[in-house]
Amino acid sequence: MFELLGIPPQALFGQVLLGLINGSFYAILSLGLAVIFGLLNIINFTHGAQYMMGAFVAWMCLNYLGINYWAALLLAPLIVGIVGVLIERFLISRLAHLDHLYGLLLTFGLALIIQGLFRNNYGSSGLPYQIPPQLAGGHNLGFMFLPNYRAWVVIASLVICLATWFVIEKTRLGAYLRAATENPTLTQAFGINVPLLVTLTYGFGVALAAFAGVLAAPIYSVNPNMGADLIIVVFAVVVIGGMGSIMGAIVTGFGLGLIEGVTKVFYPEASATVIFIIMVLVLLVKPAGLFGRPA
């Protein structure tokens, strides 16, 4: 067996994998934030709570209705997405004419309500969620042990991210979306129902968060607070990447997850703050963000 700078490869690759998994969640969540921000011009503070709701809906499906993981992977984003559509229709859309900061405050309030309600019902100790039997176990790759479920999380996130990129950048629907982002009034004048597009976009962004939540459920326990701290890290990811580009959000998310994982091996004390430190450096060197367009 070889060693790298005194670190056994098992530990190194284990953390790299864990970093990639965190990176998957950063990528999906920052992607959702970027899509929502593009069209609604608000930062969705409820995103972390919606990620948590995704995990909880999967847990409820399994424990109350006996619906398995695979069905929950479709159902949870759908349910949370519908809740998101209602939130957009009845609350967020009424603030469209105001300063965007009110959208931030509204979604922050909603996040408090959702997290508080789940904490009241389920406590904050966390509930276990079994890895689906098809993905239990793992493979020995020689240099490391690869649990099947973790490999699946990385692959599934990559697929969903690239699919989102494809829809937005390469299809007609995506073209409408980009047009509405660029100039909503003109797009509406061409006969496209922009308010509907806005609602569906919010629902889609929220569904992405819920999808990430279901993926996360078997890895981290299902916990009402699971989204609260994560969303702040994702905010830093978004500041680093800039919200101008879909691919930028994906690359930044995975990249920062990796960096965080490697930091955990070489200098564990800094692993919680490394993303914030990178944010500071990026702000000093390239204030608009790595993929951002200068305002």
Binding site: Y102, G109, R119, N120, V239
Partner: protein, 330 residues
């Protein structure tokens, strides 16, 4: 921004910022009324409760200075409040500093932290500004969590001595401490009032309403933004340091993001961009927390509901509504 550019005077802006003789007299009356209220409060209410309200009111006033008059929404003000609270508690307990020096050192550190974070955050605007301040504050939270030698980790710094003011007057008695806190609170309020109504404050408001125009008039917008940021951080630090001495405790709660959210809520309830609103907001929210303390996580839900109601239906806040009714800026 676009319609503000085309208008010579921002709509409604003049009416609100104009300080007439009558308004000045009204404000003076409010100040005197508030001073009397603060002086008699410990005889009718529980002094520790009133001190808590004053600390949080000062915190909200500091936050409102930045948001209401600088137009900058910081979602990380807990960093200055909490860090100052730690510094004040640490210096009072471990270095044996007298309370006024402990509070001063907390305030200074918060101001320094504000200078560093402010100069980073003002590089971006609007929503990004809020996200950056939140992320930087979270960094302070992790720092506090990981340096238990300084912060006491999960336990916080407990049983901080209240000490003797100037080394002479013991503050162990609640009444004695109360009047020190009252003086700090009134002085903070007066200072903020002066800042808002000074030429400096007027320029800040101009930048808030129309930054390109202020720049074209020759004002260095970023310097003003940074200055108001540092002032706000230092005053938030003053509130945090005082709080640490009053409750003899500095803990992770003070640096957590939920504290940043609470101060936003207080300001929103009281009235954004009003001078006296944050005081009313702090009174409402602190009282609510006291009465609902037994309900546990429901407090979070209630706070969230108040947030949503305020944003959807009640954006002017309590003092904002009164101000509109009597047609005078408050």
């Amino acid at each position: 921004m676009a319609d503000a550019l085309s208008a010579d005077v921002p709509a409604g802006g003049l009416a609100v910022t104009e300080t007439t003789k009558g308004t000045e007299r009204l404000h003076r009356a409010i100040f005197i009324g508030l001073a009397v209220l603060v002086a008699v409060a410990p005889f009718v209410a529980y002094p520790v409760f009133v001190m808590k309200v004053m600390c949080f009111a000062l915190f909200a006033l500091a936050f409102n200075l930045l948001l209401g008059y600088g137009g900058l929404l910081s979602f990380g003000h807990a960093a200055y409040f909490g860090m100052a609270s730690y510094v004040s508690a640490y210096t009072a307990k471990n270095w044996g500093l007298t309370p006024e020096l402990a509070i001063l050192s907390g305030t200074l550190i918060a101001g320094l932290l504000g200078a560093v974070f402010g100069s980073l955050a003002i590089r971006r605007q609007g929503i990004y500004f809020a996200m950056i301040t939140l992320a930087l504050a979270q960094m302070v939270f992790f720092f506090s969590l990981q340096t238990p030698r300084f912060t006491g980790g999960e336990d916080g710094i407990q049983s901080v001595p209240r000490g003797k003011l100037f080394g002479l007057i013991s503050l162990a008695d609640d009444k004695a401490l109360y009047y020190v806190v009252a003086v700090i609170f009134m002085a903070g309020l007066l200072l903020i009032y002066r800042i808002i109504h000074s030429p400096f404050g007027q320029v800040c408001k101009a930048i808030r309403d129309n930054e390109p125009r202020a720049i074209s008039l020759g004002y260095r917008a970023n310097r003003y933004k940074l200055a108001v940021f540092v002032l706000s951080a230092a005053l938030a630090g003053l509130a945090g340091s005082t709080k640490a001495i009053v409750f003899q405790l500095a803990s992770l709660t003070d640096v957590h993001w939920s504290m940043s959210g609470e101060v936003v809520l207080m300001t929103l309830v009281g009235g954004l961009g009003t001078v006296f609103g944050p005081i009313v907001g702090a009174l409402v929210i602190v009282s609510m927390q006291n009465y609902l303390a037994s309900l546990g996580a429901w407090v979070t839900v209630v706070q969230g509901v108040i947030f949503v109601i305020c944003v959807m239906l009640f954006r002017e806040g309590i003092v904002g509504v009164i101000s509109r009714a009597i047609k005078r800026p408050l």
